[in-house]
Assembly symmetry: C2
Amino acid sequence: MAQDLPVSPLAPAGFPDLPAVAGVRTATLAAGLRYQGRPDLFLAVCDEATTAAGVFTTSKTASAPVDWCRQVAPHGAGRALLVNAGNANAFTGRAGRDAVAGEVAAVTGALGCAETGVWLASTGVIGEPMDAGGFPGHLAALVERLGPPDWRAAADAIRTTDTFAKGAGGNAQIDGTPVALAGVAKGSGMIAPHMATMLAFLFTDAAIAAPVLRQLVADAADHGFNRITVDGDTSTSDSVVVFATGRAGNRVIDDPADPALDDFRALLQRTCLDLAQQIVRDGEGASRFVEVRVSGAETPAAARRIAFAIANSPIVKAAVAGGDPNWGRVVMAVGKSGEAADRDRLAIRFGDLPVAEAGARHPAYDEAACAAYFKGAEIVIAVDVGVGTGTDTVWTCDLTHGYIAINADYRS
Amino acid sequence: MAQDLPVSPLAPAGFPDLPAVAGVRTATLAAGLRYQGRPDLFLAVCDEATTAAGVFTTSKTASAPVDWCRQVAPHGAGRALLVNAGNANAFTGRAGRDAVAGEVAAVTGALGCAETGVWLASTGVIGEPMDAGGFPGHLAALVERLGPPDWRAAADAIRTTDTFAKGAGGNAQIDGTPVALAGVAKGSGMIAPHMATMLAFLFTDAAIAAPVLRQLVADAADHGFNRITVDGDTSTSDSVVVFATGRAGNRVIDDPADPALDDFRALLQRTCLDLAQQIVRDGEGASRFVEVRVSGAETPAAARRIAFAIANSPIVKAAVAGGDPNWGRVVMAVGKSGEAADRDRLAIRFGDLPVAEAGARHPAYDEAACAAYFKGAEIVIAVDVGVGTGTDTVWTCDLTHGYIAINADYRS
């Protein structure tokens, strides 16, 4: 199944240096669940006081592990995270729920912890029953390997068709106490071939009460992961989970409005956005990274819907792939969004180049300059729809022969 | 701009034999508006008593001719239809409105009719100002050529990137009086390269009051054109207009509930669906024709939304292109539709082949048989979501290298 795809031309130069995060130990294992010769299991074990919160797919056909996480989430405790690549354990009915129960029992058996602190995620084939019979053995092997966080190994173990490992993080202060944040993610198509899912897991040593963490992760996911699209599809398994061990020793933050959170909130948002953009940069077949900025909409939500109408339009994305500054297609996408736009005030820019204003082609429009701009690897499409003050920005990639090749030509 | 694309492998065997329709004369002309050496103008002139009604794009950036048609529609009169290919006259601001005024003046000048009976449509490049200066001359030439309807010539004149001419029609009875219907359409992508639009024009000799015709065309468009998708995009110019000359001599129908309309209504719906499916069969790069049937939804509208979530999913369409019976992607698309679905009752069939039932892979699932079925040119994807009695069916085509080639590689 490993398709030896070349690394995306939009990949970052390398995996970033990430902080260790006190209170977290990690391990990976090549369990041979589907792939051979590569790690496919990731275990993180956190200190007992760790709080946790997550946001999950809006899919009506969510996977069994997502159902499980929703069940433990209200407890707000994060003792362990177990992630497997190769099988999504989605649309597997009763067998899927049984596999989840087997995984949970294996984790609690190996760690001696309560099941309410166990979080699970699976990514891979949909509809294939997953046999949890081997998990007690896998967990024993993982526990033996537990050590200081190896984020690069974690990011590698959760890959499916990803062409590079994705990580982001950094440092902030809460009440003057330094805190660390490290995150890993996977995703290339919203659904890769027979493979599913965008997953992101973040770990911090900050002390943050679970209800506050819930709000922080929801806001950060909205700021980051909810503003990207590769193909407009939504997986059965999308999950973002944050664990906070409290080992940094800051005063526990139990009010989401506490200004002491500002620096950490900004770090979390920046990190989620960074991971999200890395997923777009690994979009299946992507050759260009596209930022779509919309202004002048009725509301920020309207701006986001217009931006996604542009970012999800196959014909706009194919034009970008072709290096074709085809702005008529952008007009079309604005129109089909269904959001208010003043046709006679609509303005479009490609990067700094004027394209359209006041509802018609800009007098200074320069087709050759725009075509040259579209040959670059990073494109900004900016649209002002002329009816209000709502703005938002989303990110996507182009729609290339590579996307078709990955999703049509390879037989999985 | 004519790209000499090969005729779609899904094209019908030939252009159908269509009835002449009393009270209609047509002409076409190679006016050289953008294309050279091919007709690009179509004029239809109808008897004075002709009623007309249309439905138009939901785009918020509708073209100038669409704005014009919406203005004349309440009059319900249909004396003339003028259609040009090569320039969509969309997003052209003041110049676009001036061009429409010039076209209307040319038509009324040549025919001596009221402007309220003049309908216009334009398809082609978006954002390019259209010069109406030559239209008085073009109209004079067209009027000289007026003759009995030549539907094949009309269908050819309105093509942009279409690879075949599209027509459909037939005969029905109203109160025992035979009536005829003929229609032509164009469209390949919802937006073709720098070209826009799905257009359909239908002509009947039935006598039907304008308010009744309005309801008939709205219902028939919903039955046909609103159930197809090539790439999920919506053009600035989509238009469906029906003209009814009354020359058949039936009693004028002025009540939409009149049972005398049943046979004609069925003919109109059949014809719109036929034209709509021809557009899908000419979908850019299409190699497979896909019918998506959804049952068990909460309502028919929910069923249609689920069907479109499947039919618009790039990853489902790419799987079809690859001949890959990747049913996990269908599950994903059902989930992302946001409509109610019972994961534990979900059932999927490909044609007559069982794929999934009761929320898991069907025991009789046969991957090889499904793969063989997916090698065919016509695929049926049937999904029962297990929550109600709502059903609907939509049609689409696959997403192939050909789509990318047409929309990315060709520089327009």
